[in-house]
């Protein structure tokens, strides 16, 4: 199977560790991963803020069509390609057909549904709580796939996060445009995280983790944030 990694522009620039973890994990499971270098960005920030993302669709297709699977370590970027691209391409039947042929999976979907593994052979002896980001929960509806994967990690203690399904307040440019509400939501989410007593807060989106982690370090809580891929790649 030809698997391509769409690492996302945010991960590429700010969180390369997540991409490396995906590569390490998939190779450990016996798969070959390709990283097409001409990839850039899915256009989500532009689209969600009200700017044109259609110019991003063509280059994305040129880069990723032809692969059996595209893995994305971000639920929100995966949702952008899978849910929004069909809408953007709706006026152009040829483009719409190319979009429909894409096989884009968020990391936990690729592992569980496509590769058929739940126990990825990881070892991570820490207490972890998992925040299901809005796009994984209500966009892609990945359900219990990420927590099933975490539960199979040896040494890991998974503790439930109260009010897990509530948004953390990141919301892309929302965090900049509405800083007061965003900070209030973040504070409530972090209160719940601290109540769990977990050492690590895990999620499948680094942008939500950037916002939550930025607050966790500002408050000197000692709680670390880690992307799902980094825990699954740990041995």
């Amino acid at each position: 199977m030809r698997i391509a990694l769409f690492v996302t522009c945010v991960n590429d620039t700010l969180f390369p560790g997540t991409g490396k973890a995906v590569v390490r994990l998939l190779r450990r499971l016996g798969h070959t991963v390709d990283f097409p270098l001409q990839q850039t960005c899915c256009g989500q920030m532009h689209h969600n803020t009200g700017y044109k993302a259609l110019p991003m669709v063509g280059p994305f297709l040129d880069t990723f069509e032809g692969y059996d699977a595209v893995v994305v370590p971000s639920a929100s970027c995966a949702a952008m390609v899978r849910e929004v691209y069909p809408r953007l391409a709706a006026g152009d039947p040829a483009l719409a057909a190319r979009v429909a042929a894409l096989r884009v999976h968020e990391l936990s979907e690729l592992l569980v549904d496509v590769l058929g593994v739940t126990d990825v052979g990881a070892y991570f002896p820490h207490t972890v709580t998992y925040h299901p980001t809005c796009h994984s929960l209500r966009g892609l509806r990945v359900g219990s796939r990420p927590t099933d994967l975490l539960r199979a990690v040896r040494g890991l203690t998974l503790v439930d996060l109260p009010a897990a399904d509530e948004c953390c307040g990141f919301g892309g440019t929302f965090a900049v445009k509405n800083p007061a509400v965003s900070a209030a939501m973040c504070a409530d989410k972090i209160g719940h995280v601290l109540n769990t007593g977990a050492e690590v807060l895990c999620a499948a989106d680094n942008s939500c983790l950037m916002h939550l982690g930025g607050s966790l370090t500002r408050q000197r809580t000692g709680v670390r944030v880690l992307h799902l891929a980094e825990i699954l790649a740990a041995t």
Partner: protein, 465 residues
């Protein structure tokens, strides 16, 4: 008229009000949990939701003929229909009717439409007193306040505050008024009973209007609405044109959806239906004012029109994390919360600073879409309206930044350069960001730029496997 700030500024003020935050959290979480339980009882909620969506879409597509059918049915039942293009026209029709009846006051049943057109203010300017009879609306009116929730207009008040309002502003409040809910309700009941019995004219809205029969439907919890609908001689109902359903049988699905979504009840305590006039029973004169006020403009927008499916249940407000922190007043509109953020800028247009900020008053978390009983894809409409704002005169700095970002992100070469520039300057990255970005660094640390981007790692090591 009060002046409103943009949403971010208004929300920044309200998020600091800890009493408000606590009142809202308690109330929204209680209703949210009740709603989830009431919906869990039904065997096929998604099916019911899809059915309701289909009925509303069909009605909106054929609105013109259903409106004509409705008018004919109302007239046949002895009522009168008036058409109002906008708020001013609707208010003028009501004022003329009240003057014709030689009345100087009216009783009102809770109605979003009359709030939307500013009827109370217009009546007051014409020398007519309007008395709200819904308990929460009464609290808001006596407090010189505006509603902050579609279903629970005084959600931002707790019972201690309500006691203060009654004691200070309700002339016939008992001297020994406590903040016990039953005592407060009894005081309001005594106060309102006088109004009902004295009033000659009542003003109502309607939750649904049936085209086939000309029937108006009001769904409520207290029974005060029914008193308004039956006691006075003259009844004036202000109805938005999107309230129509084609047949009486269509009410079946909506009367299951609405109470469960709004109050978490299987059925609301009072459902009143009236069709024209009935000799010897109820009002002798019934007027229906059909209000457009921007609705046909919304109808013309193929993405935005789904907002007209709204049945004003307020489920989206109760699950919205932004509403919960910001409160309803921050939205600066009678329709607060997620539905307000898409309905208000469409009805009013995105002309003001407030209306251009409303489509951004959401994280697009999608909780509102999940609970909407008529499946309005609120996030989709928000993004659609953001595009309208961004294509307008808008924020030049943001446009420039988005333009540059788009230019960089469209090319792997340019993205690579930008990343390497960020790496080289990482030692100089500020701890506090300037200008519009300052809100981020006030409460959060920025991530450190890593020494190497992923693509550079891939080129140097990753590719080798």
């Amino acid at each position: 008229m009060r002046t409103y700030l943009g949403f971010p500024q208004a929300a920044a003020v309200s998020t600091m009000d800890s009493q408000l935050r606590a009142n809202l959290r308690n109330a929204t979480h209680t209703i949210r949990d009740k709603r989830a339980a009431a919906i869990g009882e039904l065997p096929d909620w998604p099916g019911l939701r899809a059915h309701a969506k289909a009925v509303k879409d069909h009605t909106l597509r054929n609105l013109e003929s259903y409106l004509e059918q409705f008018e004919a049915a109302v007239v046949a039942a002895g009522g009168q229909v008036h058409w109002a293009r906008d708020a001013a026209e609707a208010n003028r029709i009501v004022i003329d009717l009240v003057r014709e009846a030689e009345a100087s006051e009216v009783v009102k049943v809770k109605s979003m439409a009359t709030q939307e057109i500013g009827l109370n203010e217009a009546l007051e300017a014409a020398g007519i007193a309007a008395h709200e009879t819904d308990l929460a609306e009464l609290i808001v009116q006596l407090g010189g306040d505006t509603p902050s929730h579609i279903l629970v207009p005084a959600i931002h008040r707790n019972r201690a505050e309500i006691r203060e309002i009654f004691r200070d502003r309700m002339p016939d409040a008992p001297a020994d008024l406590t903040d016990e809910p039953a005592v407060l309700a009894a005081a309001a009941r005594t106060h309102l009973r006088e109004r009902f019995l004295a009033a000659k004219v009542a003003v109502s809205g309607a939750n649904f209007a049936v085209a086939e029969t000309g029937t108006l439907v009001v769904v409520e919890s207290e029974g005060n609405g029914r008193m308004c609908l039956t006691l006075p001689e003259i009844l004036i109902s202000i109805v938005g044109i999107e309230k129509l359903v084609p047949t009486f049988a269509d009410l079946d699905v909506f009367l299951q959806l609405l109470p469960r979504s709004s109050t978490g009840e299987r059925m609301n305590p009072y459902t009143s239906m009236w069709t024209g006039v009935t000799p010897g029973d109820g009002p002798t004169s019934v007027h229906v004012v059909l209000v457009d006020n921007g609705r046909t403009r919304v109808l013309a927008d193929d993405v935005g029109r789904q907002a007209l499916r709204c049945i004003r249940c307020s489920a989206c407000l109760n699950v919205c994390p932004v509403y919960e922190r910001a409160g309803g007043h921050a939205y600066g509109s009678v329709y607060p919360g997620p539905i307000g953020a898409i309905l208000t800028p469409q009805l009013r247009g995105v002309g003001s600073a407030l209306d251009t900020s409303l489509p951004y008053a959401s994280t697009l978390c999608g909780a509102c879409y999940d609970v909407c009983p008529v499946a309005i894809d609120i996030p989709e409409v928000l993004v659609h309206l953001r595009a309208r704002v961004a294509s307008g005169p808008g924020h030049l700095g943001e446009k420039a930044a988005m333009g540059v970002a788009g230019w960089v992100l469209r090319s792997p070469r340019r993205l690579g350069w930008a990343q390497r520039w960020a790496v080289r300057t990482r030692r100089f990255a500020p701890k506090r960001l300037p200008g519009a970005f300052g809100g981020w660094t006030d409460t959060r640390d920025l991530p450190r730029v890593p020494e190497q981007s992923f693509r550079d790692w891939w080129r140097s090591e990753g590719e080798k496997g």
